[in-house]
């Protein structure tokens, strides 16, 4: 029984970490007043650029992988890929003041296309049976602490993950502290609530917006990389990432724009995603209903927060609106 629970929790965490990266990134972006519906696309690109980096490194290293480079190269290429994506979004919505919903949806179309095109082409050119496997790199990413296996259930629940899972939690905690306790965080929240007021107070609105969109995008992209390197053990398959990007956006609402709540929320969402595997006697049809639960729960949170009208639990005031200084 205990081992089943430990297995369930560890599976839930592995499912939840990509969502945590995605939602932490999206929270930073939304705090600057930009609803980036392109996050699913950004996560696809984050995944595929990591895959491309890892692929070329594995090819050059020819079986003799340096563990440090095997981690750093995919990580950097993933960050670069998602930065380019979020800068496209940033340039269109911040500088050119385009509609955020339309730009975000276009970015998702574009990003999913980039992911499936390059990932799929690599797989057909070099992979076996239409799938590309980067097992060597993935093994380095998945390396857990050596004593994890000896600690039984505790080891499985807390220490059985690759380093990126801890990175996700660390990032979420740091972002929470920065948003709540520092001058930079206060300024960023001011920009998201009322850019005109922030501007009048001498905050460089444009710089904060670009910073938030860029950093948020890079963090979200790591979620895609984690999914490929840890969850699928380095195997790229087209469309494998599924609707997890949208689930990450749902998690932002569920966490009421707090990355620390997002940590718990991501495990909960991950658990809802896999719980059908652990309940005996469920048919395939009820599994689909269980996959609906994260969205239903999010919807309930959205409704309850809007009914209570507490100021702390509302979306950033200027979310979705572009800012032009000369507008009144």
């Amino acid at each position: 029984m205990l081992s089943t629970i430990a297995l369930f929790i560890s599976r839930a965490v592995v499912q939840g970490i990509p969502l945590l990266f995605g939602s932490t990134g999206e929270i930073i972006t939304e705090k600057s007043g930009h609803l980036n519906l392109g996050i699913p696309g950004v996560m696809y690109v984050g995944a595929v650029s990591g895959v491309i980096g890892a692929f070329f490194y594995e090819k050059n290293a020819a079986g003799d992988l340096n563990p440090f480079l095997a981690v750093v190269i995919p990580l950097l290429s993933s960050l670069l890929g998602s930065l380019v994506m979020s800068m496209i979004y940033g340039f269109l919505t911040i500088t050119l003041r385009a509609n955020q919903n339309v730009t975000g949806l276009a970015l998702t179309t574009f990003g999913v296309g980039i992911g499936n095109f390059f990932g799929g082409s690599l797989a057909t050119l070099y992979g076996q049976g239409g799938a590309l496997s980067l097992k060597a790199t993935s093994d380095v990413f998945k390396r857990s602490l050596p004593f994890a296996g000896k600690l039984g259930a505790v080891g499985q629940i807390f220490f059985s993950y690759g380093f990126m899972a801890y990175l996700a939690i660390l990032v979420a905690v740091v972002v929470t502290i920065v948003l709540r306790r520092t001058r930079v965080g206060l300024n960023l929240r001011a920009v998201g609530e009322s850019p005109a007021t922030a501007d009048a107070a001498g905050i460089n609105v444009t710089r904060y917006k670009y910073g938030a969109v860029g950093i948020g995008g890079m963090i979200a992209g790591l979620g895609g990389l984690y999914f490929i390197m840890d969850y699928t053990c380095g195997v790229w398959s087209n469309g494998g990432f599924g609707d997890r990007g949208w689930l990450a956006i749902a998690l932002v609402i569920f966490a009421i724009w707090n990355p620390d709540i997002g940590i718990l929320g991501s495990v909960l969402f991950g658990g809802l995603y896999v719980v059908y595997l652990f309940i005996p006697g469920l048919g395939r049809s009820s599994q689909e209903l269980f996959k609906m639960l994260p969205y239903v729960v999010t919807l309930l949170v959205l409704i309850v927060t809007s009914l209570r009208k507490k100021r702390e639990t509302q979306p950033p005031m200027s979310l979705g609106l572009s800012y032009f200084r000369e507008d009144r």
């Binding site: 999913v112 609707d243 609906m292 032009f324 000369e326």
Partner: protein, 363 residues
């Protein structure tokens, strides 16, 4: 203050107005520029002659009579969903839940076809399907509208969640009604009797679909431009306070408009299941619910212009799948090209609404 303030070389100002021909000239030039960039991209990754690629795209969309009909029917479907989201957008109600509303319509239609399939004559069945699908679309759209109108719940996020609830419900039903057992697919419904299928018109399978959408397009144009409702939608979109000041019931207008949006999405669901696929899948809406948002926005919410913009998107998709086949590329190239063209068109609106001026040196 020892630091000298540098005067920026340029500054941005809002245009007071721009002649329509100039705006369309900018848009036209943008599309040409976007096509050039797309060609560059294709050449960079594939080493193909871009002219050959565009020729292949053209033949993929319009090469044979059959392909033209396919393009027309796909365009009609995308246009239908774009018409559905338009009144809500004009009101600045960000309904990104068209995908879910269409699926709701699909589900209702499928349910009628399966449950009443062999009990009532086909004509009556189609009538029942129409009523059910419109009702389902309305219900799926009106829930977020009520919450928005009453408690100001964020409609973008609400409708986004409703999409995935509907999609998951569709995959649930696919396993409930699966045929053959274990496939998780419903398969073609009533394939022997063709009960509930739209009839062929002049020997054309999709003509009924296209006619329905054509009527809807004209009706929506008239509704938005010449009716009292259309005027109210425009006022609420510009300023809710103004609308309240002149005595409009904003709450009622929001709910009514979203109901209309959902009803047309329901019709789209009816067209998909009754007139095209004759089956249900979680991908029945084909992502058109999201694409429609871009189609409607690109056309500046003008139903007649939407014919052009939806044709452009469908042309890209069908053309790209043709080049994918012909040159053995990955199908996903369609999404990349669509993305590039959308970025350009989205970006060009800036140059229509704002102008960049040289800052004059003083003194």
């Amino acid at each position: 203050m020892s630091k000298k303030l540098r005067e920026p070389l340029f500054h941005i100002a809002k245009r007071t107005g721009i002649p329509a021909w100039k705006a369309w000239l900018i848009r036209g030039a943008t599309i040409v520029a976007a096509l050039v960039v797309c060609a560059l991209f294709v050449v960079m990754v594939t080493d193909l002659n871009p002219l050959e690629v565009y020729k292949a795209m053209f033949s993929g969309a319009f090469g044979t009579t059959r392909k033209i009909w396919g393009t027309a029917q796909n365009t009609a479907l995308l246009l239908c969903i774009s018409l559905a989201v338009t009144p809500a957008f004009k009101m600045r109600f960000w309904n990104i839940g068209a995908e879910g509303q269409v699926i709701a319509g699909c589900i209702a239609t499928t349910a009628c076809m399966i449950l009443f399939g062999n009990k009532v004559p086909s004509a009556l069945l189609i009538l029942i399907m129409a009523v059910a699908s419109v009702a389902a679309g309305v219900i799926w759209a009106i829930i977020p509208a009520i919450f928005k109108a009453t408690w100001n719940t964020n409609e973008t996020l609400f409708t986004l969640m409703m999409n995935y609830i509907a999609i998951q419900f569709a995959s649930f039903l696919c396993t409930v009604w699966e045929n053959p057992a274990g496939s998780a697919h419903i398969g073609v419904i009533n394939s022997a009797t063709k009960n509930g299928w739209f009839p062929d018109l002049f020997g054309q399978k999709y003509l009924v679909n296209i006619l329905i959408v054509a009527v809807l397009t004209i009706a929506m144009y008239v509704y938005l431009k010449y009716s009292k409702h259309g005027y109210e939608i425009a006022v609420v979109g510009e300023s809710q306070n103004t609308a309240r000041y002149v005595g409009m019931n904003v709450k009622k207008i929001i709910i009514r408009t979203m109901a209309l949006s959902g009803a047309i999405c329901g019709v789209a669901g009816l067209i998909i299941v009754g007139g095209t696929d004759h089956t249900l899948s979680p991908e029945s809406a084909r992502g058109h619910g999201f694409t429609a948002i871009m189609v409607s926005w690109l056309a500046k919410f003008n139903p007649i212009m939407m014919i052009v913009t939806s044709l452009l998107i469908i042309f890209l998709q069908r053309g790209a799948s043709q080049i994918a086949q012909q040159f053995r590329l990955n199908e996903a190239i369609a999404d990349i090209l669509t993305g590039i063209i959308l970025f350009f068109i989205i970006g060009c609106e800036f140059f229509i609404h704002y102008e960049i001026k040289r800052t004059h040196k003083e003194g």
